[in-house]
Symmetry: C2
């Protein structure tokens, strides 16, 4: 069935049935606005918009996977502020020719991800668009402590910690561009496609690091671009020990096949949704302990310096400048 035949009311009623009810004291879908009760520490809010043909293609990702990813990338932003996701608003523009199953799949995926991360769909908008799908997801969350953890706040001497692995999401994107489809032909391909299509949010790591870090962010635009945000004010810089970059074997092998440098993918690839934190040396031991307890893999990749600039340090001690302006231009 097409969206056109089901109509707006029919679609909204199907979407509702897929979602968990809001917690006590919340007001969800069905009123003028959603209501979230008073939180001791305030609220966090973030939005990300995904456009068909630009951010996703239906031959690359299933509707449910897209719904999960749309929630995950926003949850990642809340977690990067040291927060806990609670509520969600989604706006969807959908052409009348789209299959109802596609839209249901997206909302089913969103419901699954929201359940996993402890949040609820509280409202939004469903509108008839011209063609294809544009999905905007807003996640609302509570800070885990008094104050959110910002991108600024790093001090010279802070150690740079990164969760998980870098460059794998970019490697997964390359596989898709080369015609490999989910779930891939072997474990290595599946692992890279997972990084691109179904990123896992570092919720436990975020809560573990938030009370200890001077600054924290998720790595959505590439490590170097995020480091540039860390050192944007206060005349500070960053040094990255290139051999410490957490690049997994599947990513290294694909980089070799592609005659590319895996380190470049880690620096500039983007969409990794790992956490980057600047932790003062005095709290480093506790940070390690907390991450170990949460069973989150991590790497200590470098240090905040008292001189501006972002430099990569090679094993032979040679330095190279990392270019923070390099990155993905959505409009190019």
């Amino acid at each position: 069935m097409r969206i056109r035949e089901l109509g707006e009311r029919g679609l909204i009623s199907r979407i509702h049935r897929l979602q968990s009810p809001p917690p006590m004291g919340f007001v969800g879908i069905g009123d003028d606005a959603a209501y979230l009760p008073s939180s001791k520490h305030g609220w966090l809010a973030t939005s990300d918009m995904l456009v068909e043909g630009r951010h996703f293609r239906w031959d690359w990702i299933e509707p449910e996977q897209l719904g999960e990813k749309a929630v995950a990338v926003n949850v990642s932003d809340i977690v990067a502020m040291g927060g806990i996701p609670r509520g969600c608003l989604t706006s969807l523009s959908v052409g009348g020719d789209v299959d109802v199953e596609v839209v249901e799949g997206i909302y089913r995926g969103m419901a699954r991800a929201l359940d996993r991360y402890g949040a609820t769909l509280l409202g939004g908008d469903t509108v008839g668009g011209r063609e294809g799908i544009v999905l905007d997801v807003t996640i609302l969350g509570e800070p885990g402590a008094d104050k959110p953890v910002l991108r600024r706040g790093s001090k010279p001497g802070d150690r740079l910690m990164v969760t998980g692995r870098l460059g794998a999401a970019y490697a997964g994107l390359l596989l898709l561009q080369h015609g490999v489809r989910w779930p891939g032909r072997n474990a290595a391909e599946r692992s890279l496609l997972t990084a691109q299509i179904a990123p896992q949010v570092r919720v436990e790591a975020g809560l573990a690091l938030a009370p200890l870090a001077h600054a924290m962010t998720d790595i959505s635009d590439g490590l170097v671009a995020e480091l540039a945000e860390f050192v944007r004010f206060g005349g500070i810089g960053a040094q990255v020990l290139e051999e410490r970059l957490p690049i997994d074997e599947a990513t290294r092998q694909l980089a070799e096949t592609e005659k590319s440098l895996a380190a470049e993918w880690a620096y500039y690839g983007g969409e990794d949704y790992e956490l980057l934190a600047a932790v003062p040396p005095s709290r480093l031991a506790e940070a390690r302990e907390r991450l170990d307890q949460a069973s989150v893999s991590y790497a200590e990749i470098g240090i905040i310096t008292d001189t501006p600039g972002i430099r990569g340090i090679l094993p032979d001690r040679e330095e190279r400048n990392l270019d923070a302006t390099r990155g993905y231009n959505h409009f190019a």
Copy 2:
């Protein structure tokens, strides 16, 4: 200049300069998520998506007007819950061929409306889309009291109050469809086009009625559709005295020219963004006084009944059933 040439960073930096800085204690644009400090009464959140070619056309509305309207329709939802707007997130999908001036105009209009209503742009997303513009605006607000005013809660005997005028936004839409362009050829046309293009949010009326009303909503989908939400639960209904419908002279005259019933436009037209409230008789005098003090025009159009159904009462006492399922299907 086209968006393609300016690039994402250039665009975002231009957009920032148009906005007022966030209030003390808030975290705005530039971090992983926005932060809103603890509010005694919790937070309200609502989103509306506007799609070029479906919700707006550039020969009908200027970019600044669109930006103002996109904020206003969301502020209206916050006000309808008895809230005060504070923060805003906007996501914009824009094709590379769009003029930078158009996007700047939209953000300038949003900034103007946010300033007027006391809220600040705190974040969002700007992405390269396929073509044209999709704009999703989220407004966050604080309830003016302990609890938000919901759509449900009406009791038999409650009086139905409506602010301003009904049907004028639909009349303005008809003018646009007939080729009339802003600002129209005379005062009457300008007044109707204003209702459609530049609706004013009833902030004072919302704050005045919130402590008194059993239920409240803004009239975005037409009076009858909103009444249907009021009486959806609890076996209640509504009676509307048709001669009390607040229809202005310009709307009546256009309806006559069009050989339509102005009352139909008031019942089903939509996009009026006036407030509808169910006020118990014991608080009616105070509601009138508060609205008068706020210089807001209003009409007492009917009553909540203890029998289901929504009925219009004609001057000759004849009744007619009003059809709540009638309305705009976005996907048709």
